[in-house]
Symmetry: D2
Subunit: 344 residues, 4 copies
């Protein structure tokens, strides 16, 4: 299958190239860039030397599948002709994630460039929407934070064991901010430093509400979502807190056991998302497509604590994009994604 | 004034030496170590070359003031003779922090070595207990996490604007784990990694309850306190969450303003703890004794978010120890602590 | 083919497991550990969850091939029975590298445990000894530093263009020091720090002499080899300096061109070692088996500068071990080693 | 004394503010910036909160002393009026370092903006030029790399014990590249990465030649100077290599002893530069004005190895600038610079 990657020059695009280059069912037919058009992939990114090709301004070859790793708005615009032609597509940007177009306008300060496709588009979290993904030709790939937060909380929400009153304290490595040049991302500013950011609200907020709120059947999820920057390159860890509903589970250790069962059952059979029995670390998922979730109860406060880790560039972006492609195309869901994490 | 440092060879002890060496009122008269006894301070720690002296197994010289940076239990035992003789003391360990001896036994798995001094001992947070510190001869220096968490929440608790239902999501640099050799602290395990730890409860939990619970007048604080390890050496940031009490403050931006005023008033005149108007970063306090606190409201969830940063080895340990000494001895409270943070 | 890994619990052993688990020709039949015997691989190393098995004190199953990742001396002892039985082996330790047993005794402060196998043993650098490796049943896998230094200099030495007067200034990430617990490896000591170490000589010194000296035909190589510790986990970069022999190459840019050709010719056809035309970075090889070499001339001083980068745990240890196995067993030399580097 | 800082918004300028704010003889009267003009210092740099003032486009107040931390060329232009008026000045840029104007034009690709001051200007390394610095009104502050390299080699060159055939392998933290926004400095590109850069020559090359060549009395120093980027914020370490002159010192350990004596004698009495007896680490100088030098001999190759460490922003920039001011103004040379290094 011939695949095109729109905007290969950001971190998500680079990761798509890295993963797809080794994918058994796929040939990378075209990669595009904006300022980098005309250069060789291997010259810009020596680690991609074995998948060298020219970066072009547009995809001109015929392709069977297309990924876009452009920023929002630009992404939908570039994808539109492919969608029109019926080429299957995964959009890594935010353009096809939010069902509520007012939310989109509010958070992204722009009117949606092609609202007509929002009905076809499926939110690309296979753990929640595998069947719809298999049927659609357009997937809005989840944000990196919502991937972690929704997977951390979905089993508890689905089981109805927590109050709709949730704090998601999220921590991300710096690659989530992209391959840009700005003083704020300068090594000397980030290294040996830790901070909270986006204290007035992060654009990934409405995705978490959309996915968990709809699951619960009511929209009144009282969510506080705060993001932090960790001086590391890859990895997201979210710590999620919510009061246990009165009587929903047994007291004490038995309740913890019950929560673990709920999570294990929920993710039984999932190829990448796993409920684990020891607190995870981001490095356990470095470079691979896993999401590991650890649920427990703070017995002193009768509060669920659910920790999830993933690699923001893999399960949080390019890897889940490929997973979605696999589901959409009927390939083995793990094809191209079997790599173990790099540790240490 | 002649000062002794018991156990100069850990990070808190080293910082005490670094700070006291430049203190205008103080002469370091003796420093002790255990396995390092007999060695020179400058040989072990070249950055302390200008304050070189022999590390001895015990303080044999007469001293006017003593710091202990030993682990708990060992600390109280070594301090006992000095307390007996009326030598003023600051204990950096946990031994003289908890008023409730059952809490001490529960969390530290040992009976308190000298419970008779718990009545004299004052919890060494000058922002809350300056007058008592000025009167006492024995201070239990706060833990690094509680320093940050209590300072982040005290103004809101004192003002009665939050429900007693608090989540403290705390993140610390690695030096908080001490100058030990263990696989878990090996650079290769910690670097490019982020994790939660102590999910069954952290020993600093009861300090937070003690200080905030007593302030509120009731003991029913429902506290979830979760600690995380950041791949950096110095710095603590705590993100604290609590529901705003119905009607306690105005809605919307006016409420945010009100919260800021409450915090600014509470810390007006404090030499080191400051309510700031932009979200702080740990590096803003690297190497100095500041604690910077940023309060705001998550208007979507009507929840207080209070962020506090400090250097765990300075305001979280040695620096606040020296601040306490200054208060106890009637020195200028900032003496020896005027150093600006090192940035970047 | 059934493979055993002796001492899977160090970083080299873990990497062997990670790589061999995905190797198409191989099944991991047994993994051993010392203090970890009896535990599950996945429990100790969650990133190896998909290759879970019990860690045993000894290999009791019959195996066709064995790797040892034990420290020197212990390694030869454990390998001896396998060698005796004719099982092919790659030793990651230093035991089967040095042809000169006096060198071994001098540098490792111990008599060689089984000198009788030194004649069979081949130094496992396929770029220099591929044919002998294909014929032998015992390979001494090169040290991480010599892998980089020898590959950086071999083309120039073989072409006779440099004086036998070489400085190798080598820099390594911390994982080269192993998965140990010691204060010197504590994150807080290593982070934001850079140092030279082993100023009286590093054990990898004689390997470099052995490989480059023998190549030159004379043993008078005047080598200064100094090692440094970089605050990063993976990666080695060596900067090698040597005077250009008078008249050996043209002056100016033409000389630089000539050197580039010499290197490109030397490594033409090599699957993993490449002469590159832009200065490499360690991260270009993170997690994969490449060694990238950049030669140039400092025209002001008429001195060769050759830079080489590799991942110390892959091409510097486990990856080259598997490459050697592939050569020894007639597999495709790149089998199991096709993974691209992880960047960023 | 009223002092102005031109361009306070880069890292060197920020460090000048940090150090001068605590200097007993000095009041900061004006700080300038370009794009930041009109903003408050404390708003941009919260760690400078206690030295808050407005950033202005120009120094309009009358000042007694001026520092410029502008880039080269712009720096000389802005300093010219002050020099004209006889205001004493330290230029942190490269404009007043090189005596040879052709070298300046060659390396900086620009004609010198005010060559007429080159005769007055003194190269600001007090260890070599203290008396001239005390007499001048204009100091060209050394580059960070030359500070380390010259101090590492000066004693050996002065004593005539090495051949004029030197390799300086230099490693720097990222703050040396300044407070800029560029992809190359993005945390994700630098972290867990190590590289050599400026392989065609670094602008600091001619400073090293100027200072060491002139010392030796002959200009034929064959210098290879290669720079590397370390994933840390502060610190420079240089490893310098040069053949020992035949017969210049005794063989073996006695020669090492002799070298140590030469270095200790050379730096006896120096307030900041010290010959040390154990290999130094960059962190031993973090945040303070020390330069620590460790000389030894590689007895196998009869080669001097001299290691020097300093903080590139302090002894490599702002700290040595203040040291020069102290010498120029007859203050205690250590005034404002007594701070111990921050470790860990």
């Amino acid at each position: 299958m011939k695949v095109g990657i729109i905007n290969v020059t950001g971190y998500a695009g680079m990761e798509l190239a890295r993963i797809l280059h080794r994918h058994p069912e796929v040939e990378i037919a075209a990669v595009t860039g904006r300022s980098a058009a005309g250069r060789r992939l291997a010259e810009m990114f020596p680690h991609l030397e074995s998948c060298d090709m020219e970066i072009t301004p547009e995809i001109t070859e015929s392709v069977d599948f297309v990924f876009s790793a452009l920023p929002h708005a630009a992404s939908a615009e570039k994808l539109e002709p492919f969608i029109e032609q019926g080429v299957k597509a995964v959009d890594i940007s935010a353009d096809f994630r939010l069902k509520n177009l007012d939310d989109y306008s509010y958070w992204y300060k722009i009117d949606h460039p092609c609202p007509q496709y929002m009905e076809t588009a499926v939110y690309g979290l296979p753990e929640l929407h595998r069947d719809e993904i298999a049927q659609t030709s357009l997937v809005g790939n989840p944000g990196c934070y919502p991937s972690a937060a929704v997977l951390a909380l979905a089993p508890a929400v689905a089981a109805g064991i927590i109050e709709p009153d949730v704090v998601v304290d999220a921590k991300s490595g710096v690659s989530g901010a992209g391959r840009g040049g700005s003083v704020d991302l300068n090594f000397s500013e980030v290294n040996e430093n830790f901070k909270a950011y986006a204290l007035d609200g992060h654009r990934h907020h409405p995705e978490i509400i959309q996915e968990l709120g709809s699951m619960d059947g009511d929209d009144d999820l009282r969510l506080t979502f705060l993001t932090h920057l960790v001086p590391m390159t890859r990895g997201i860890l979210v710590s999620c807190y919510a009061p246990i509903k009165d009587g929903a589970i047994p007291d004490g250790e038995a309740g913890r056991e019950r929560v673990r069962e709920i999570y294990e059952d929920y993710y039984a059979g999932e190829p990448f998302t796993k409920a684990v029995s020891a607190p995870p670390q981001t490095k356990h998922t470095s470079g691979n497509n896993d999401c590991v979730v650890y649920p427990t109860i703070d017995l002193r406060a009768n509060r669920l604590m659910a920790i999830a880790c993933l690699d923001n560039l893999v399960k949080g972006a390019a890897g889940s994009g490929v997973q979605n492609m696999n589901v959409m195309c009927g390939f083995d869901e793990t094809a191209g994604l079997e790599q173990l994490a790099l540790y240490p």
